[in-house]
Structure formats: C-alpha cells, structure tokens
C-alpha cells in the first residue's frame, strides 16, 4: 500500500483541511457578541464565549435567544462553556448581545458577509509610526465604545502615502464621522472679562496683576503688549486671545486656554459623575473629567479677579461674564457658567455637558465624547476617502450559490475532458483532484487550525519517512509539499471575493497542468509506437512544463501581494498558495493516478 504514498499524502491533507474548516469546540449555542456595562453578567461573561443553555433550555441560534432573553426579568441561569452562571435581571435587561456561531472556521470577507469598509487618509503627510499610533488610538476608541469586530489595517501607496483601512461587520457611517475620524483635540477656554473705568483696568492672573488700557477704538495695551481684536498672546504660560471690547468701552473680553487634551487625567463614566437627564424638551448629558494640577492652576489664574453676579432666577452666584467653553476639534461642545465659589480656585473636576433632542442621541454623544477624551487625540486629523457599505443580504445565499457554481464548473470541465479523452479514468480523478485542491486551500485559510495542521505535519512526516525507509522512490517535490503545506496551513486569511477569484485561478492552472500530465503520459504518437521514454521520463517532462507555468503564475501574483493594493491581496495570496498546493501535493498525486491507470492498461 505504501507504493501509493503520494495518494495517502493527498488523502491526509484533504481530511486535515476539511477538519480545519469544520472542527469547532462548539456546535450549538450562541456566541456572545457584546456585554453591556449595565449587564449583571459584566465582568463574568466575555465576548466570544458560547452560551449553550438558558434556564436549562438549549439555545440554537440568535433568533431563539432574542425570544428567550428579550424583556426577561428575574433570576436566570446561563450555561456558558459547561458552567452555570446565575444572574438577577432587573428591568434594564440582561444586556448581552449574541450572534450565531459561524458554522465554519472561515473568515469571510465583508463583500460576502456584508459590512462597512472605510478608508481614512491623514490630512497631512504621516509617517509609518504615526499610522501605528493612529491605529492604536482608533483601536482604543473602538474598544471603549464597544464596537465589535472592527479591524484596522495600514495601507501604503506607491508614493509613500499612508491610509488607514477600517473594516467592521456592522458599522454605521455616523460612527466613523462622529467617533473614529475625529482628531480629538480637546480645549477648554475660559472667557475673562476685564472691567475698565476711564479706559483703564487691571488684568489679574493669580498673584500677578497687569495694567490694561484702551488706547484706540478697540486697541488695548496690556503690560507692554499692544493688542488688536482677535489677537493671540501668551501671559504667564497661558495662551490668551484678546477677543473684543464693548461699544461703551468699559469692558474687555479675553479668552484663556485652561486645559488641553493632555491635561485630562481621567474621564468619569460612573453614575455619580455622569448621566443623561431630561431637561425641558431636550435631554442633557453630563460627565466629569479629572484634570491635571497644572491645568487646574491655569483655571485658577484665569478666573481670578472676576466679580460675582447673582442669577435672578435661581438665586445662585456665578462669575460675571465668565464662562468655560469646551471645544473638540475647534467645535464648541459645551459652555457653562462658573459658580462664584470656584473663581480663582484650583478646580480639578470640571464637568462636560451638552444636550440633544432625544435620549438616545444624548447618550450616544456622551459616549462619543467620553471615548474620544479617554483615547486621546490622533496625531493628525483624518479625512474619509472611501466608504463602502456592502449589503449583508449579498452574503446570505452566497455560500450556497458559490457551491452550485463550483459544481456547475466541475461538470463543464468533466464534459470537456471526457470529450477529449473518452476515458472516465482521466476526467473523474481530474475533477476530484480539483475539488480536493479547493478544500486544501480553504483549510489553509481557516482560522484556529494550528492543532489540526500540526497533526497533519506529524502524519505526513511519518508517512514519507516510512516510505523512504521502505525504499520507495525519492521525490523531493512531494516531500517538500508534505512538510511545507501543513506549515502554511497555520496561515489565516480572509476569504473575500478576490480570494474566491484566486481559488478559481489556481484550480484553472491546476486543471491545465493535469491535462499536460495526462497528455504527456498517455501519448501514443500515430506512427511511432516504439517506446522511447518510460512513464517516469514522461512525467518528468510534464513537470518541467508545470514548473514553468507555476512559477510564471506566482511571479505575476507576487507584485499584487507586496504592493499592498489591500483589496486584491486576498486574490494574490490564494492564487500563490493554490499553485503551491498544486505543484507540491495534487499534481504528484495525479501523476501517480495516471501512472496506475497506464500500468493497468499494459498488464
């Protein structure tokens, strides 16, 4: 039996690949996609775990889960990874999102399962390091925000331009514009009024006081500076802007920067420091931040010397004409009056507020801002250069239609090959080998399959070792394949449409090669019947042609892969792997089948 070791090799590979595709630790249940902050399971259950039972009842899919878990209150027992977890669910719900378990270990691309693909470009030239930093900040934002299954890739164009590609299964465009592509430059500015009498006044910064004088219509002299309206300047290490003077000339307005993004030490999200409350027709959101000592000192300096004024409605005292304005990327987020008790004081816990029309919008904006402040600013601002929203319904019937198309193509090839050779023994193995190639390629692309492939590697080594020991022929090609392909099997890549194109390309080249083998070995030239060459020689000659064609195909694909045209990389990888599987595993096996066939004919 060892005589047919190349066929055994193929069989091991096909079974290994099939296992790599379908072998999973769980076959029923639902996978946790997200656990909300409010969930009683927060901290106990995590994304990716499999829930198999709810109160002892089996769950098979996400729809069924919806029926069981939606609006559920009271005690609930979830069986997760064979362990029971008990929770008490209040009216805010169980707070767990689930999805169906993937039936195969294949990572299908967005163009198959649907989703959003966005490409962002830095507005100014960015280095590779900056791109890494951008991606890590974006990743942080995605994690804090609770986005599921978001992936970020850098893309580099030929002229050295970098892009950031974001892929997500379900990502609305508003999340990108409101969360991801925002640079996140935070600034808190405080308006500082200076009251003049007779055109003169004092600009007080903590313990320092500078004389101010109105010298022209709007022009002022501050210390030894002469300032026009909207002119910026620096005083005691604080950035200021001279904004304007009143018509009457008895009040000047300055704007001082108290905090910046780097001053934020903590963003509060606990219910004591943050929340959403109805206010009139709107909903207000608020959350506290903790700022650094230096920022708090700047706050104290800017607000020093500002008089208080009573609010006639509430009777509370606030600083007169002084407010704190919070900007994100130069867009005003909130403006708040400052309680008179805080004037001139070190104040480390300012609050950020805002309002939106609905409760959902308010909560969302609160989360956006908290996320951006927590993750920090991006080194450069980003611009959306490409948005692709792919309808998931394309995905639903896709796998089935793809299987039909493959079978349809297989039948077409069988017919052509049968017409040519009139031998079932040539055409059936050819198609069988083609299909086994598809399985091996998909098995290599499969995720979490290293154990399967390690076993295949061990089995292969055992097989070729025994065959060699039993004095079967030396075949460097098949040996390389036996060891290399299982190692490649640990690779994982996304099966997207271009990758499927790659499979088709590889199979096409494969079928072509097998025809060469068949023609070389079955050759019986019309006039010359004398056998000049043995079957082995003929196969050798066939392999010369096959090598030529495989290496040119790989050569044509390598540029596609290394150039980083991200969208067709899957095509290149799949084609290259497919061609390698072909020359190293399936072609030697097919040659052996044809050899057996001709041996039989002779005897």
């Amino acid at each position: 039996m060892l005589k047919y070791w190349r066929l055994w090799l193929l069989l091991i590979m096909v079974i290994g690949a099939a296992l790599a595709i379908v072998l999973k630790p769980h076959y029923s249940g639902v996978q946790i996609a997200y656990v909300y902050e409010t969930s009683p399971a927060k901290g106990l259950l995590e994304q990716g775990m499999i829930i198999s039972q709810v109160n002892g009842e089996r769950v098979y899919n996400a729809d069924q889960w919806m029926g069981l878990a939606r609006d559920y209150t009271g005690n609930v027992t979830l069986t997760v990874d064979r362990k029971d977890y008990r929770f008490y669910v209040n009216e805010s719900g169980l707070g767990i999102d689930v999805m169906d378990i993937e039936t195969m270990n294949l990572d299908f691309g967005l163009d198959i399962k649907g989703g959003t693909r966005i490409i962002l470009q830095p507005k100014e030239n960015a280095s590779g390091e900056m791109i890494d930093q951008i991606i890590s900040t974006l990743q942080t934002r995605a994690n804090i925000y609770g986005l599921r299954e978001v992936r970020f890739f850098p893309i580099k164009s030929l002229d050295g331009q970098y892009f950031v590609q974001i892929e997500a299964a379900g990502l609305g465009r508003e999340v990108v514009t409101e969360l991801l592509s925002r640079q996140g430059n935070f600034e808190a500015k405080i308006s500082k009024p200076v009251f003049l009498s007779g055109g003169k006044g004092n600009f007080q910064l903590g313990e320092n006081t500078y004389p101010v004088e109105l010298i022209g219509n709007r022009t002022v002299r501050l210390g030894n500076l002469t300032l026009e309206t909207n002119q910026t300047f620096e005083m005691d290490d604080i950035e200021f802007e001279y904004v304007n003077a009143t018509e009457t000339g008895n009040e000047l307005f300055f704007l001082g920067t108290a905090y910046k993004g780097e001053d934020i030490e903590l963003v509060y999200s606990d219910p004591q420091h943050s929340g959403v409350i109805p206010r009139g027709q709107f909903f207000s959101f608020y959350f506290g931040i903790l700022v650094s000592e230096r920022g708090a000192e700047r706050f104290a300096k800017i607000t020093s010397g500002v008089p208080s004024q009573m609010d006639l409605q509430s009777g509370d005292y606030y600083l007169k004409d002084s407010e704190i304005f919070l900007y994100l990327d130069e867009r005003l987020v909130s403006s708040l009056r400052i309680a008179s008790t805080l004037g001139g004081k070190i104040y480390t816990t300012p609050q950020i507020e805002g309002s939106r029309e609905t409760k959902e919008e308010a909560s969302k904006e609160k989360l956006n801002l908290q996320t951006i402040l927590r993750s920090g600013a991006l080194p450069v601002s980003l611009e959306t250069v490409s948005v692709g929203v792919i309808s998931p319904t394309l995905g639903k019937g896709f796998v089935t239609s793809a299987i039909y198309a493959a079978l349809f193509a297989a039948v077409a090839v069988i017919i052509v090959v049968f017409i040519r050779y009139r031998k079932i023994g040539v055409s059936i193995p050819l198609v069988f080998i083609g299909l086994s190639e598809i399985i091996i390629i998909l098995g290599i692309a499969a995720t979490n399959d290293w154990m399967v492939w390690a076993s295949v590697l061990a089995l292969n080594a055992l097989l070729i070792g025994t065959a060699w020991w039993k004095k079967h022929e030396v075949d460097v090609l098949a040996w390389t394949g036996a060891l290399l392909i299982p190692i490649l099997g640990m690779l994982t890549w996304t099966i997207d449409l271009p990758a499927i194109g790659g499979i088709i390309a590889a199979i096409g080249v494969g079928v072509d090669n097998m025809i060469v083998i068949a023609d070389e070995t079955l050759s019986k030239s019309g006039t010359e019947r004398k056998i000049l060459y043995t079957i082995k020689d003929k196969i050798k000659r066939a392999f010369f042609i096959i090598f030529g064609s495989a290496s040119t195909t790989i050569a044509a694909m390598v540029p596609l892969m290394s150039l980083g045209v991200g969208l067709v990389r899957g095509f290149a990888i799949t084609t290259i792997i497919g061609v390698l599987v072909g020359i190293l595993i399936t072609r030697p096996a097919y040659a052996r089948i044809v050899e057996i066939g001709t041996d039989r004919e002779k005897t």
């Binding site: 163009d111 470009q121 164009s157 030929l158 331009q161 892009f163 611009e383 250069v385 490409s386 948005v387 692709g388 929203v389 309808s391 319904t393 394309l394 019937g397 896709f398 239609s401 198309a405 349809f408 193509a409 077409a412 090839v413 017919i415 052509v416 090959v417 040519r420 449409l497 271009p498 499927i500 194109g501 790659g502 088709i504 096409g508 080249v509 079928v511 072509d512 090669n513 060469v516 023609d519 050759s523 030239s525 006039t527 010359e528 060459y533 030529g548 064609s549 290496s551 040119t552 195909t553 050569a555 044509a556 694909m557 390598v558 540029p559 596609l560 150039l563 045209v565 969208l567 067709v568």
Partner: protein, 283 residues
C-alpha cells in the same frame, strides 16, 4: 497535412493587435485615458441596488440628473434578480441619492454603497499599473530562465503582451471598465497565456517521440486546446451562475482573454516557433 504558407497566419493576430492598439490610442486622444477605469481606480461613488423586479434605469437616470450632475445608471443581472448600478462623483451625497430613489418608490432594502475618493483612486491606479508592469517583468525573467534561448522566450512574452493589449481593446469595445477585479483577471491571463506557450515551446524544442515538427505542433495543439477549453468551460459556468459582479467581471475578462489567447498561441507563437525551428534545423 501540408500548409504551404503557414507564415501568413501571423497576419491575423498582428492585425488584431494593431486594431486594438488603435482603439486604445484613439481613446487616449479623445479622453486622455488609455482605457475606461471603474470608480475603484479613478474615484467616485457607486450605489448598487439589488431588486427582484427590473427597475427603470433610464427613468432613474433622468430623475437623478436633475439634481446630481454626473450620473450614470446601468443594469446587471444578479443571481436572485436585478442589480441597478448608479455611478456618480465622490462628492455627491450617497444618502441624498438613496433618499431620492426611495421617493421614486424603489425598494432599497438590499443596497450597497461604495465611495472612493479621487486621491485614493489615484493611489490604487498607480499601484495597479506598477503591478502589471512588475508582473510582466517577473514573468519575462522566468520565461528566459526556463528556455534560455532568445526567440522562443520573446515569442512567449510577445504573445502574453498581445493577449493583454487585445483584451483591453475588446474591453473598450464592449464597454467594460477596468476594475481591481479586472486587473486581477488580466494578471491571471498572463499566467494562462504563458501556460499554453510554455507547453508548446517545450514540446517543440525538447526531444520527444514525434518525428516531424508538424506532428509535434499537432499534438501540442490538442493539449493546448484542451487546456484552454476546460478553462473556458469553467469560466462560462461561473459567468452563467453570476453569483457576484466581481466574479462575473473576472470571468468575463478572462473569457475574452482566453479566446484571444487561442489565436495568439496558435497563429502567432506557433508560427514563430515553427519558423525558428526550421531555420535552426531543429526538426
């Protein structure tokens, strides 16, 4: 079978090559572009609406033209019904267009939107050009390494190049825009084209059981045609299944390319090789 003036066969592929080059040059003179590119390679917005019923593309186009300047509406057949493709510039607001279409009473549940900014399109395009050129150079080097003789190697490379140029010419005639998928197909075509050429060249140049050159060519033709026809059969099956526009475009471009390759391999490459073998006395 004796063919007296076999060298004349080469006129057919040469004429087609010149014709295709002519098409591309005319295109370049008229539009400043060698061939039409899809939005992926030049920037723009593409909205695909999949419906069971057929939509009135001309009506949609007329309606959208009133508000959005450059709009082009096309129709494709998809696996489960019809696909309506709306192409416009990347500045246009896709949501607004969809709103407009919904207002016409079109079901837009199954919709895909793709926007590529012009700068990104340009980046993809320059990468695509480099990919084709490098693929060609790599292929050429390998062909030279395999055969180590000048004329047969050049014949293989010429035939591959001619395949691509004629395919691009045909794509203009049939109004197929070059997309990333099409580019992938063209690169694949290099592989297929070289496949048959290598088979032919090695059959002719290496020793074998056949005595005469004619017999060698005839046997190579049989193998080569089987190779190409199986590919054509499989691709036709793929095209008829029309499971996705991306795969359909790959199939379409490759089908054209393979038919052209039959001509280039057997009317050009084989003629050059036969002439070469006769000159060198390799019979």
């Amino acid at each position: 079978m004796k063919i007296p003036n076999y060298k004349l066969f080469i006129a057919v592929p040469i004429l087609l090559l010149l014709l295709s080059a002519g098409i591309l040059i005319t295109q370049y003179n008229q539009t400043g572009e060698w061939f039409q590119r899809s939005i992926e390679l030049k920037g723009g917005t593409l909205i695909t609406i999949n419906t069971v019923e057929r939509l009135d593309t001309a009506g949609i186009e007329n309606e959208l033209r009133k508000k959005f300047a450059p709009v082009n509406v096309r129709e494709t057949r998809s696996f489960e019904g019809y696909g309506t493709l709306i192409e416009t510039s990347s500045e246009a607001d896709a949501d607004e267009i969809i709103g407009e279409i919904e207002a016409m009473g079109v079901e837009t549940a199954d919709i895909s939107i793709e926007t590529i900014g012009p700068s990104l399109g340009l980046a993809f395009w320059s990468q695509a050009q480099l990919a084709i050129i490098t693929a060609f150079i790599f292929m050429g080097i390998i062909v030279f390494v395999i055969f180590r003789t000048f004329v047969p190697s050049v014949a293989v490379i010429m035939s591959a190049m001619s395949d691509i140029v004629i395919t691009l010419g045909f794509m203009q005639v049939f109004g197929i825009e070059l997309s990333l998928a099409g580019l992938a197909a063209l690169l694949m075509l290099i592989g297929y084209s070289v496949d048959t050429d290598i088979m032919l060249t090695s059959r002719l140049l290496r020793e074998s059981e056949e005595k005469t050159l004619g017999e060698k060519i005839r046997r190579a033709l049989k193998t080569g045609l089987t190779m190409t026809l199986t590919s054509i059969a499989a691709l036709t099956a793929l095209l008829l299944s029309s499971i996705s526009p991306v795969l359909s475009q790959i199939a379409m471009v490759l089908l054209m390319g393979l038919v052209i390759d039959i001509m280039n391999t057997w009317l050009m490459n084989s003629v050059i090789l036969k002439w070469y073998c006769e000159r060198r006395g390799l019979i």
